[in-house]
């Protein structure tokens, strides 16, 4: 029987495009808001666009937080996209301080409106480069087909600050703000950018992730 990847539906964000990318690379991916399906998933994708607080409320109210955390703790492959990365953190400073899934220690901060007296347009919308932090490379990760400086598509107003330097997989510089745009820790992988909107190079990330974990 083929392995099932569940795209967690908590009513935020474009699930359609994530599912299209999954199907394109041969992942057996289903959109679901059913806690039982999340609890039984072989792979989990947490997408999301929108507000951190609303997202956490929706996850809790739909009974998805507990099975999601349990499944990740059990070691199944997890892929977070955009808000799905930010939700992994301990908490966000959006509208006061709010608790996250707390699967990785770290904070979520807002992109400042000015840096060194220059205007910074927020949201950060568009293609930007990803590089590996010093001393790290992407060999053996779902980014192994990419080179430092390749472009991915971003849409966000907040960014992550993981506490542990070793969790950082990619860095991105927006108008002088260098921030962590991708994390990897054990079975957890998550990106601020949208691989499903980043052309062939982005879609390939789904393929690599799926095949590395035997989901394809």
């Amino acid at each position: 029987m083929s392995k099932k990847t569940i795209i967690v539906d908590y009513e935020l964000g474009n699930l359609f495009s994530v599912q299209q990318a999954c199907l394109h690379v041969g992942l057996d991916a289903e959109i679901s808001n059913d806690p039982a399906q999340v609890a039984a998933a072989d792979g989990l994708i947490l997408p999301g666009v929108g507000a951190f607080g609303t997202a956490m409320n929706n996850l809790r109210n739909r009974g998805l937080e507990a099975p999601l955390k349990a499944r990740v703790a059990a070691g199944i492959p997890f892929l977070g996209i955009c808000l799905g990365l930010q939700l992994l953190m301990t908490g966000s400073e959006e509208f006061g301080t709010q608790g996250g899934l707390d699967l990785l220690p770290g904070k979520v901060r807002r992109i400042p409106p000015t840096i060194d007296m220059h205007r910074v347009r927020v949201p950060h919308i568009g293609w930007n480069q990803i590089v590996a932090p010093a001393g790290r490379d992407w060999e053996g990760t779902p980014l192994q087909h990419l080179r430092a400086g390749d472009y991915m598509y971003f849409v966000h107003s907040y960014y992550c600050e993981p506490d542990r330097a070793e969790d950082r997989l990619t860095l991105t510089n927006y108008m002088g703000l260098e921030y962590c745009s991708g994390v990897q820790h054990g079975n957890i992988l998550a990106f601020q950018f949208h691989p499903e909107k980043s052309g062939p190079d982005g879609v390939e990330i789904y393929r690599q992730w799926g095949s590395m974990h035997g989901l394809i």
């Binding site: 359609f16 394109h24 690379v25 666009v49 929108g50 347009r121 919308i125 568009g126 108008m175």
Partner: protein, 296 residues
Amino acid sequence: MQQETIRVIPRLDIKGPNLVKGIHLEGLRVLGKPEEFARYYYETGADELFFQDVVASLYERNSLHEIVSKIAREIFIPLTVGGGLRSLQDIREVLRAGADKVAINTAALKHPEIIRQAALDFGSSTIVVAIEAIKERDGRYLAYTDNGREYTGREVREWAQEAESLGAGEIVITSVDREGTGEGYDCALTRLVADAVGVPVIAHGGPGKLSHIDEVLGAGGASAIAVAGMLHYDYITRPDSYRAADSATRDGEGNTEFLRSGRSYGRFETCTLPAIKAHLLAQLLPCRPYTPAIIA
């Protein structure tokens, strides 16, 4: 000083099943199948695609869903869809069909609260407010609706600021005066909006040659550019195109006379997306470079 990465966004005006192009948003002529153009632009390095249903607002027709759905299955870059979106339900449906962002104009001007509610429901970055501007005799820029036909009396600058405060994640500013003319973007208009808001501003309407793009990025302060005629007219005359004219004519909808006539394109110095990207990089304007790839 750091610069944003410039986005180059082919704009596809859609009428029924066809890609069309007009002048001043009027006098639409059929150019071909939107799917074929979309695919070609994806493969040649488009940063996003912008689809506008140009008759939806007039006849309340939502015909774009099918086209978007088909395109979203094979094209993995952001798709923005506008035209005739009147309610939150309309927005929800087009997002479900595969759009990543929606552009709203008429509905937003009639009921600005729709911006706030849509931003809450779908996220600010999903909501693009489209402003169609006409320069009045006294020099003021006013916002119009329905492809520049309906007067609202709203000043562009103040409307852009209100749209941002309500939660718009981006503004696309169209110069109706320049649209389709090839005379160049209205840089003063673009600058007016870019200085008034903190969200990204997409310039639309008027480019006929590469230097027009430099102007609107420099003097205009745009974060992104929408390009239509320069790209479309290049594509339909390429020997390797899918013979866009033939495929459009087969469906027999719309004015295809223009295509069959084989006329030249007046002021337009047509070009490809890779040529635009190469030009931007040569001007030291950062953008995602075109790199031929094996298409996923």
